[in-house]
Symmetry: C2
Subunit: 155 residues, 2 copies
DNA sequence: TAGTTCGTTCAGTAGGTACTGAACGAACTG
DNA sequence: CAGTTCGTTCAGTACCTACTGAACGAACTA
């Protein structure tokens, strides 16, 4: 088993550790190793998993911004490849999630204030923490994008 | 069902959504609402779950820094309460995890370079991304801690 | 000593996902 | 038209983990 294969498995375990499907991590790892677009079929064969799983998980990864779907005229196949700056897109997704959570928590502040004033203060703190997290993540993503754009521009 | 109870359930679902046990989120939510220390037994009764589950999940939350274990002379019970700055500790934990991941990935760079030079570059990028993430999270935690310490100090 | 009250551990279970295989629609070819 | 090759969907399964209940050790009391 090559180091590349082991790396792919490690990525699977990292994803699993974070509560995501192992296959998603393997797809991500494979696309890092290959560095080029692969068809859904190729991914399926290379990883030894069903096309159904690849379809589901690759779309999930694309939604998160880690990889992207590509297409070619005259070819019905879906290709997937590593996004240019996967970390940027993943951070953006995390920021959105934090925003949603901040909003969800915020809706409880006033109702809880009717029942328990000090508790409402703590809930408000939590909502602010989520909001702040969203902000920091968003800024970070922006900074990363600029850094990487400049770096590439100098090549 | 009160707004506080609904809030506790929402926290459970948020944790579940993030890949953590629902009970952990409920404990966290309960301690936010109560704003004081509760014994393991009290948490168990209030949430309607076994002491075993509370034991396991509360220790997990304490390990992550979201809550903390407290004790009193002459009382064998374990009490848990919200940490002063839960977000700070949670960020610190995340930073540590990123550091571990950066390290785990870094170990693959050279072996992969032997097999596939360009792939090694991409793996190195990933390792740097994790390392950078750890750094940003650490800085953020430090900044938060200072902000909050100052804020409290002025009260 | 025996009995109580803690928290923890662990085997077992229930519930929920990850994954598969089969069926399907769409887009194409001959 | 039938046949092929795509991707997706969905029912079924296999697995995994969250949770429980029981058993246990520790620390205490009587």
């Amino acid at each position: 088993m090559s180091s590349s294969d082991r790396f792919i498995e490690i990525m699977g375990l990292m994803f699993q550790d974070g509560g995501d499907p192992r296959i998603a991590g393997r797809i991500f790892g494979l696309l890092i190793i290959e560095g080029r677009e692969l068809s859904l079929q190729q991914i399926s064969e290379r990883l030894g998993v069903s096309r159904a799983s690849v379809s589901t998980n690759a779309r999930q990864l694309a939604k998160r911004g880690a990889i992207r779907l590509t297409a070619h005229a005259g070819d019905r196949q879906d290709f997937y490849e590593l996004n240019n700056f996967p970390s940027v897109d993943v951070l953006g997704e995390m920021a959105e999630r934090m925003t949603r959570q901040a909003q969800a928590v915020r809706e409880f502040i006033e109702p809880i204030r009717q029942e328990n004033e000090p508790a409402a203060e703590r809930v408000e703190d939590l909502s602010r923490a989520f909001g702040h997290a969203a902000e920091v993540l968003g800024d970070w993503a922006t900074k990363l994008r600029n850094d990487q754009t400049n770096q590439r521009g100098h090549e």
